[in-house]
């Protein structure tokens, strides 16, 4: 029953989408006001239809309706209810439904906030086209409402997904990914109407910022989740799927900065427009890569070449049409709002922050393309018969570091508009010296080692920090976001440089040390979870004879999926995490255990959250301004 209802709602959504995309387009062509007016109601209709589909599927999961193949493949009666509800996006079909839901949610929110925008119907039509493609994809190749031919057993949700991180990371991530369709559509509409002006830039910037905030938060949460679940204290692996989410983020950030640039320098118009296309294309590319099966990853969904081809075709059509639209009015004058005076084209003529903004957008673009090439290179090498080449974390870390250096340098210069004054340079030089000294001597003084890379990163981070108060006076939102970025970098640098780990074999009643921390192994017991059996170890952690905490890492055995999962335990702290993971049972009672001391690792995610807050502040300020 749910299957039939679900299919009906999907078809309704498709109908609305078709109307939403075709009518306004013809309305614009023929200047038919009624056709244009239909756009908003269609968008709302589509949203409600998809929402119904989503709710139906959620209901199916909640009530353990295994007459649907998708539900049976990803759920189980013993699965706790909150995982049952979120298992909806645990595999391919449901995640596409989530994608479309967010697409429609963004559309109606945009439509609501911008109801008086003249180009709204056209924008809705463009989003509608994307929606039509995705709905066709869903209905014909990835339908979550497929009825099972015979009653199926629940296969349970993948144990790696049974963690709180799974409940928030995908929705945030998808909200971000999908959100880039709005700036894309706004730009395409503006290109069609040949009106790339200040109002276009302002609008695009707002909605890019909104999507960017979600994506930043989504990636941050993903990293935090990986840290909790994967069992060896890492938070970023340059895994192809992680890279797929980083690509739109890097491009989106480049886009943000180039839109800021547009306020001061009209020459960045075409670059910004191109970036909106590339950012959204990367979202689509990411969606493709994760589901195609061509990349080796811990995160990929099950693969099927037929689905891959569909997505690739989608990407091809969207990207080609968008590029044609972008390239076509080559010599047409782009409507310029006379209120915006473009500055001199020569860099550094009057506003030196241009260098920073241009540099930033170029560097981030380069970073994004490098990540793309690095991710695809093993495939390229194999096709060109260059052998089996593996491109892993060492490559990305090595290659991104110089880009990071340059970004941090530019970030420090952000608040300075005019670099021609000697006095300014004196004070800047003083600051540079302080930062360099701090970067070199602080770690040496307190831990006895100097590491060139760490010192340089610390010095550059201090460089940004030291210039922040001045920036705060001018643009608080940017300052907070930049502060977030620096905290992220500090977290990464310090946790990489100063973390300690040990892998020990330990018997109950023994204890072991990691630095000043003593871990007493009290023993293990067996516990029964809702859908798993587990061996839980008890550790008491002391420092200087004082009890800090007790930790209970587990080895879980999920019965239905027949998978063993290591559940780590963490004692979080602002300045350090203690992290413990069970290894293997070594003989009757001994276990191998991994202990980690991770300084400043919470700063990584705090930095990400702070960046999101900075972005939200910027959005809020704009809203205040426009009120």
């Amino acid at each position: 029953m749910i299957s039939t209802l679900g299919n009906i709602t999907l078809v309704c959504a498709l109908l609305f989408a078709v109307l939403q995309s075709s009518l306004p387009l013809s309305g614009t062509w023929r200047k038919n006001v009624y056709a244009l007016a239909v756009a908003r109601p269609c968008a709302w209709g589509q949203f409600f239809a998809i929402l119904c589909a989503y709710l139906l599927l959620t209901l199916a999961f909640y009530t353990n309706d295994f007459s649907l193949t998708y539900v049976a493949a990803n759920s189980h009666p013993a699965l706790p209810w909150f995982y049952r509800l979120t298992a909806l996006w645990g595999a391919h079909e449901g995640s596409i439904l989530l994608w479309i839901l967010f697409l429609n949610a963004w559309t109606v929110y945009f439509s609501h906030r911008q109801k008086n925008l003249a180009s709204l119907p056209l924008i809705l039509a463009i989003v509608g086209c994307v929606s039509v493609c995705f709905l066709l994809f869903l209905i014909f190749t990835s339908n979550p409402f497929l009825a099972a031919p015979y009653p199926l057993q629940g296969q349970d949700l993948n144990p790696l997904l049974q963690d709180p991180g799974f409940i928030i990371h995908p929705p945030m991530l998808y909200a971000g990914y999908v959100g880039f369709v709005i700036p894309f559509a706004i730009t395409q509409a503006a290109l069609l109407q040949k009106k790339l002006d200040a109002s276009w830039a302002m609008l695009t910037r707002q909605w890019t910022l909104a999507a960017w905030c979600f994506l930043t938060l989504g990636i941050t949460l993903g990293s935090w989740w990986a840290y909790r679940v994967l069992g060896w204290g890492g938070f970023w692996f340059w895994d192809p799927v992680e890279n797929a989410s980083l690509l739109p983020w890097l491009m989106g950030t480049a886009l943000l900065h180039s839109l800021v640039l547009f306020e001061k320098h009209a020459g960045s118009v075409r670059w910004s427009a191109l970036l909106t296309i590339i950012t959204f294309a990367f979202s689509l590319l990411g969606t493709f890569l994760v589901r195609s099966g061509i990349l080796v990853s811990a995160h990929t969904f099950a693969n099927d070449p037929a689905r891959g081809i569909f997505l690739l075709l989608l990407l091809a059509i969207v990207a080609t049409l968008a590029l044609v639209n972008y390239v076509y009015p080559r010599h047409a004058t782009l409507g310029m709002d006379p209120a915006v005076k473009p500055r001199d084209d020569s860099l550094g003529a009057r506003d030196d922050s241009l260098i920073g903004l241009w540099g930033n957008t170029l560097l981030l673009f380069t970073a994004a393309m490098t990540v793309l090439i690095g991710t695809l290179y093993p495939l390229i090498a194999e096709t060109l018969k260059l052998g089996a080449i593996s491109v892993g974390a060492p490559y990305f870390n090595l290659v991104m570091t110089p880009i990071l250096f340059l970004l941090l340098i530019l970030m420090g210069f952000a608040p300075y508009r005019d670099l021609h004054h000697r006095k300014l340079w004196f004070s800047l030089l003083r600051k540079i010296v302080v930062c360099l000294l701090g970067g070199i001597f602080l770690p040496w003084f307190f831990s006895g080692t100097i590491d060139f890379l760490t010192s340089l990163l610390l010095a550059l981070s201090f460089w940004v920090l030291i210039n922040l108060p001045i920036a705060m006076r001018q643009i608080p939102a940017m300052t907070i976001a930049h502060l977030g970025f620096v905290i992220l970098i500090l977290g990464i640098t310090l946790s990489s440089a100063f973390s300690e780990e040990r892998e020990v074999r330990i018997q109950p009643q023994e204890n072991t040390r990691l630095g000043p921390y003593v871990f007493h192994f009290l023993g293990t017991d067996e516990i029964q979870g809702e859908n798993y059996k587990s061996i839980r170890a008890h550790f008491l952690v002391k420092k200087n004879q004082r009890i800090i905490t007790d930790l209970t890492p587990e080895k879980r055995f999920y019965l239905v999926r027949d998978m063993i999962m290591t559940k780590v335990d963490i004692h979080p702290g602002i300045f350090r995490d203690l992290y413990i993971a069970l290894g293997e049972p070594l003989d009757k009672t001994a276990w191998s255990v991994r202990l980690y001391y991770k300084p400043f690792i919470r700063w990584v995610w705090s930095g990400g959250v702070l960046m999101t807050l900075g972005g939200l502040l910027a959005l809020w300020q704009r809203r205040q301004k426009s009120l």
Partner: protein, 147 residues
Amino acid sequence: MRENKSLVMPAQAGIQLSTQMLRFFLLILALFLLFLTSTFAYATPQDLYPFSSPADAQRFQAFIKTTRCVVCQNQTLAESNAPLAKDLRDKIYTLIKDQQSDADITAFLTQRYGTFIFMRPPVNYATLALWLAPLLIFFLTIAFLVL
């Protein structure tokens, strides 16, 4: 430029606050780095892979963190639970204890599994494009913009 008149008042407080925050951060950072002076032992009897010198222990960690597990190909030897990963960890441990140099161990692994087994791509003609990519992209983009 943009006038943020409406934000001057809170911004004044903002400057003071953020300057204080900055100082606070740096102070805490310095204080905390103090705690890093504690010694971390490298060779106690409990270590699963005990070494007689910290340098060897570091070499071991370096190897297992940058060598790919060929079974679960997206994890390093340090991370993977595959039986072959454990065998390779044990093998690398034995080789280090036998005083084999890093070059020897690299050659050992490459001979059997190819350069693919290392996370870091080699620098040779095949990977030239890969290593030069960032520079090329950066300058090509500038060229594209200027022209």
